[in-house]
Symmetry: C2
Subunit: 239 residues, 2 copies
DNA sequence: CCCGGAAAACCTGTATGACAGGTTTGTATC
DNA sequence: GATACAAACCTGTCATACAGGTTTTCCGGG
């Protein structure tokens, strides 16, 4: 049936890729914002003159990247910025050993020295309080590694958020998965309560510098924090 | 048919999401490396006890994120690290106005001040030569903006490569799409030949610092380069 | 024994039709 | 005008079919 005279008969990158492009193109052309409705699969099927199979795989691909939201019965909508795809790429790189944990930490260090400085400059009072409170929760639960870890991750994400640059948030959050898989290893190398509390103290120092609005100091504490973390990882034999 | 007693009948995240997880899980469990073969769709269909439709949408989603490579007749293989998904996320953020070009440039500046320093420390001679040659090609073609732009982008990607940390390459490359869409605007604000050549000179300074192996100097030149670029964009009224 | 080539087996790409739910819309009744 | 019900629409999943592309197998000739 499909006579494909429609779009001018492209080379061959596959009908699905074409459909994906058509959809993203539609978002751009119509200037859609998060939450806005996309065409139904049936409509897309007619417009592109391909089977529903193809259109569906295109929608599903965009959904997997979290560029659109899908749910049964409802039409797809444009999605809010989400870290889903980035996390998967990073995880894929790690599990296939194309990137090392240490390399991720180097990137994190680079980025978070900046986010923490920006946070010190641009944080709202509420953000500063939230950051400080995550540090406090780490101390209060320091007997429960899993809980400490989650507050640690939330701490770093909160700082990224306080930088008021969503791209930083995106990247930092994308690394959280890796952190979850290596955090405990680093924690174990800090064998004594004293060592562990010292690490938590590092977080409190960062929070305090943000509260005081001192970007230099905040960046310095963050750098030290990462240097110690990387050292802990290296001591544990993480490549 | 499918009795779904299989995996224990999860809540409801959808069969496709489950299939995606099963595939990535397979990669992890088998310790697959780039190029290794994945199970065929038919095999996956049997293993998960779902229709080929579901398995196919899962494969296609991973393919869209460039975590796997697919092509007709052949089974899917594990993919090399690729920036595809990240680029799409960033582009999506830009087109839906969830992130601004300026925010992207702030992130680039942060990251590239680091990549350039690392490049100065870790570059091979071949890498230093390649970087310098991109700068030279910019000068030689400075009457043809499109060509200058492509060499500019290649220049920055080469520096990221010379940092020898693929995560940096990944991120820098992911931003190239945005650059392609805004570069010309910045170029136009440098109206005279002199201004344009000055901007190219900035690249040559960076290349030289990398060649000399001076990370401080390299980072400084890079910072200046970005400051001027952002200023050019702001002059042009880019939010 | 090796080599070349053709057939078979396998695999993905795409299309079609069907049906089970979920959601929205419109309508008719109170 | 409000409410409840039905119709229309939409996505999720399944089954089947067939057109190519790719790998494997196997057989015949040297």
């Amino acid at each position: 049936m499909q006579d494909s005279r429609d779009t001018g008969d492209e080379p061959s990158p596959g009908l699905v890729s074409t459909a994906i492009q058509a959809i993203t193109q539609h978002i751009r052309a119509e200037g859609l914002a998060p939450g806005d409705l996309l065409p139904s699969e049936a409509a897309m099927t007619r417009q592109l003159n391909v089977s529903r199979t193809v259109v569906r795989e295109a929608f599903r691909s965009l959904s997997a990247m979290r560029l659109i939201d899908m749910s049964a019965g409802r039409r797809a909508t444009v999605a809010k910025l989400d870290t889903g795809a980035m996390s998967m790429v990073i995880e894929h790189g790690i599990t296939t050993q194309q990137i090392s944990v240490q390399q991720v930490y180097d990137v994190r260090r680079t980025i978070e020295m900046r986010t923490v400085a920006l946070a010190a400059l641009r944080r709202t009072d509420a953000e500063a309080a939230a950051i400080a409170s995550f540090a406090r929760l780490m101390r209060e639960n320091f007997k429960h590694p899993e809980i400490v870890m989650e507050h640690d991750i939330a701490f770093h994400e909160a700082i990224a958020g306080a930088s008021h640059n969503p791209v930083f948030s995106l990247i930092v959050t994308a690394f959280s998965g890796v952190t979850r898989r290596t955090w405990v290893i680093g924690w174990r190398t800090r064998s004594t309560d004293e060592d562990q509390l010292k690490m938590i103290k590092g977080h409190e120092d960062i929070a305090e510098a943000i509260l005081k609005g001192d970007p230099r100091l905040a960046a310095e504490h963050m750098a030290q924090h990462f240097d110690k973390s990387v050292k802990a990882l290296l001591d544990a034999g993480i490549a």
